[in-house]
């Protein structure tokens, strides 16, 4: 029973981290181009556009 005191917050915290990670990925535009991202993995580094 006593371990619930810390187990539940840990579970909630880990869930919350997952949610935050999702929010961050949404905000940083990672869902804008799902197909393109799949191809960019295969591109060589020198093909990366220079900023």
């Amino acid at each position: 029973m006593n371990m619930l005191i810390y187990l539940i917050p840990i579970a909630l915290f880990m869930g919350g981290m997952g949610l935050l990670a999702f929010l961050w990925s949404l905000k940083s535009g990672q869902y804008e181009d799902l197909q393109g991202a799949a191809w960019r993995v295969l591109a060589d580094d020198e093909n990366e556009p220079t900023p």
Binding site: L4, G15, L19, L26, G36, P49
Partner: protein, 758 residues
């Protein structure tokens, strides 16, 4: 990468619309710091090779700061410096760099920002409700596996705390839509959803306060989670289609070259052209506003405006309407109307008046809900009263009523329709058909009559040489030698046609509105319309289904060439297949009756109606629906737009006028017309699957509702029943996909076999 083998020359030939630097500047927007952002649509990108080719080509330009390809929406975002080394940059270099890499590029106006925010809000809501659902389910499982009373109470309280913000945040889409429906005295699927979610939360909270055994927090939140997934899928599908359609080449010009009284010329946006302004239109440009020709002679192509397939000669004093393409000579046109009052504006008015069938159409889910939700609410009320009066215990009665509401909450129904439609739209997407929204698929499945426009739909607006009468082979060769000098579509068709090699001429002059003229020794050759080339005898009658071009030597006719519009590939197969399946096929065209009759005869259509003005096309569509038919209208022109809006459901090719594409429910990118029967077949399959899904969902209710009414539906049973029904419905919807995959596999297998055999 073999998929990227694009021929640069063919791409350059295809991109008939060249953009001027001013036009590009109008389409781009400033970012500050002397940077401008230009969004281009590149419909041909489809793999990683394409991404790096385009990005490398653009970054090689010195003034480009950043270029990024979005493969999903097939767009390039390019940020460039307005000034580079003290000179204003010429942004046309960006487009020509993309063209040189072998891709078409079009300007487009980004209007999708609002849709993007809706999508992100939906995704966020899915994330939040998913977080809440998993955590609450974790706690609920512990409760179900037998926690003691104190732990159970604590878990219930934690669940309540997680569920409350999640319900408010993620449920707002449903609450808002349900409230809107109720305010207008209607009911939709969202009404029972909202009721079940809020009531179950309220009752669970009450139970928790009184240390009750059963709480439904997990049910109400996971319900929202499932439904939001369906709603997000639906939204993403529509957005994908919209992005693809917005990315097409814009046919209406953005601006025009204004002639100012001091003799200078300035490029202005089309909205800034006032009545009385004089504008210069070069050969190969589209006319931006309605007007009258001040000077110049030319032929104009009205195929997209009126559906007329042969070009019309114009000269000073003629009226021209916006959207027509200027073919041979340059013109100066005085604007007689503002852009917003032009022909296009009249068409939009007609469209708004015609929009009937579609607005009246109620989606199948809403029709189901209007029967389903009163029944369910009545059932819950009856079980509440029955348990209250006969059982005597009102709190228990309330619990039973809520259990009935949760069990019957249309979770499976809410997924039944969108999942099928998303899968069907994906299947059509692979065949090159964009579906703008789910209701279009429902309406397409009900169609029994197919009406085609002729020019641009059944035909592709490119003339083809049919017959030649010539006294001698050399005259054909000479005619071809003349024809290569013109961009008139008939001349180009003649130059392309097979037969003897062209005999070249040195000095060829083009007389706009007439034809071509050249001399060889003391002989004068003329190639053009009958009145121009053949000065002696009378021209042939006007109701021949063919367009005619005449070659004369010193005024004597030496050869005659007859052209007809080339049929769209697959047109015959499409019409045959539609007739085999028992659809009535009609042509509704603005072209001359004789031409329309000829096309109908060649393709074997049931009925041919020609010489129709836009409002007559609408009337024809309305007449069909008055006779109890459901019409699918397939058309492309500006003049088709009102009919596209009036028909039960409509399709347009990607080459259609801007307004035609906007009016249509489905847009096909495929060159071939066979996609029309294919799209109907997929829509029918989807409709069948939707009905099956409804049957499954209702069958599940028939099993589960008695358990709930009897008072045996614990939260555990509700959770299991709800998830299984959702999974069954989704799996059933995916069958559409596997069928499509099997067909594709068979196609590739036969193709390989044919290749191996050959």
């Amino acid at each position: 990468m073999t998929c990227c083998d694009m021929n640069t020359e063919s791409v350059l030939a295809m991109s008939a619309t060249a953009f001027s630097a001013e036009e590009i500047a109008l389409a781009s927007h400033p970012l500050g710091d002397g940077l401008r952002q230009l969004d281009l649509s590149v419909p041909d990108v489809h793999c990683g090779g394409c991404i790096s080719t385009i990005e490398r080509a653009l970054c090689a330009l010195p003034y480009v700061a950043k270029a990024r390809v979005n493969l999903t929406s097939r767009r390039v975002t390019c940020i460039y410096r307005q000034e580079f080394e003290k000179r204003t940059t010429d942004p046309t270099g960006i487009i020509s760099a993309i063209n040189a890499a072998g891709y078409r590029a079009h300007l487009f106006t980004p209007i999708a920002s609002e849709n993007d925010t809706t999508r992100n809000q939906l995704l966020l809501a899915v994330g939040v409700s998913g977080f809440a659902a998993t955590n609450i389910m974790l706690l609920s499982v512990s409760v179900w596996s037998g926690a003691d009373a104190a732990t159970r109470d604590m878990f219930h309280w934690i669940s309540a705390l997680i569920a409350a913000p999640a319900l408010v945040y993620a449920g707002r889409f449903f609450f808002r839509s349900a409230w809107n429906a109720l305010k207008h005295g209607r009911t939709n699927m969202d009404v029972p959803i909202s009721l079940a979610v809020t009531l179950s939360y309220a009752v669970s909270l009450w139970e928790t306060m009184h240390h009750g055994e059963h709480a439904w927090f997990d049910a109400s939140v996971s319900l929202l989670f499932f439904l939001l997934i369906g709603r997000t899928l639906d939204h993403v599908m529509r957005e994908k289609a919209r992005a693809a359609i917005n990315g097409l080449a814009r046919l209406a010009p953005r601006g025009a070259l204004l002639l100012i009284s001091d003799g200078s010329r300035r490029y202005v946006a089309i909205e800034d052209i006032a009545v009385g302004d004089e504008i210069a239109i070069a050969a190969g440009e589209r006319i931006p506003v309605d007007g009258m020709i001040v000077s110049g002679e030319s032929d104009i192509d009205l195929s997209i405006v009126t559906g007329e397939s042969s070009p019309v000669a114009v000269a000073g004093g003629s009226q021209v309407s916006s959207g027509a393409m200027n073919l041979t000579g340059s013109l100066v046109v005085r604007a007689t109307k503002l852009a917003k009052n032009s022909l296009l504006a009249e068409i939009i008015n007609l469209m708004e008046a015609a929009e009937g069938g579609r607005a009246r159409y109620r989606r199948i889910a809403d029709r189901a809900a209007s029967l389903y939700s009163p029944a369910v609410h009545l059932l819950a009320l009856v079980s509440f009263l029955a348990w209250g009066f006969f059982g005597g215990e009102w709190t228990h009665a309330m619990l039973v009523a809520v259990a009935v509401l949760i069990i019957t909450c249309p979770c499976a129904l809410g997924l039944a329709v969108p999942v099928v439609q998303v899968v069907a739209a994906g299947e059509l997407f692979r065949r090159g058909v964009m579906v703008k929204d789910g209701s279009a698929l429902e309406r397409l499945a009900e169609v029994d009559t197919v009406a085609f426009d002729k020019t641009g739909t059944l035909t592709i607006g490119v003339p083809r040489l049919v017959t030649t009468t010539a006294s001698d082979e050399t005259f054909i060769a000479k005619a071809k030698g003349l024809a290569v000098h013109s961009r008139h579509p008939l001349s180009q068709a003649l130059a392309r046609s097979g037969g003897p090699a062209p005999i070249p001429f040195d000095r060829v002059s083009e007389i706009p509105g007439g034809g071509l003229q050249a001399s060889r020794g003391d002989e004068t050759y003329r190639l053009g319309n009958a009145a121009f080339a053949d000065a002696i005898s009378a021209s042939s009658s006007d109701d021949s289904p063919f367009s005619e071009v005449v070659l004369s030597r010193n005024g004597e006719v030496r050869a005659r060439f007859f052209f007809e519009d080339t049929l769209r590939p697959g047109a015959r197969e499409a019409v045959d297949e539609l007739k085999v399946r028992g659809y009535e096929t009609v042509i509704i065209s603005g072209d001359r009756q004789s031409v329309v009759d000829n096309t109908a005869l060649v393709l074997g259509l049931d009925k041919a109606l020609g010489a129709l003005a836009p409002q007559h096309k609408v009337e024809e569509c309305q007449r069909f629906s008055a006779d109890g038919h459901q019409v699918l209208m397939v058309g492309d022109g500006i003049n088709d737009a009102p009919a596209l809006a009036a028909a039960h459901v409509s399709m347009a090719p990607a080459t259609a006028s801007d307004i035609g594409r906007q009016a249509a429910d489905l847009v096909f990118f495929n060159e071939r017309l066979e996609v029309v029967p294919q799209a109907i077949a997929v829509a029918k399959q989807a409709a069948r699957l939707i009905r099956q899904n409804f049957a499954l969902a209702i069958g599940y209710n028939v099993l589960a509702v008695p358990i709930a009414i009897a008072g045996y539906a614990t939260p555990l049973i509700a959770a299991v029943a709800m998830s299984t029904s959702s999974i069954i419905v989704v799996t059933n919807a995916l069958r559409l996909n596997t069928r499509g995959m099997r067909q594709r596999r068979e196609r590739t297998m036969t193709a390989t076999r044919e290749v191996n055999a050959a």
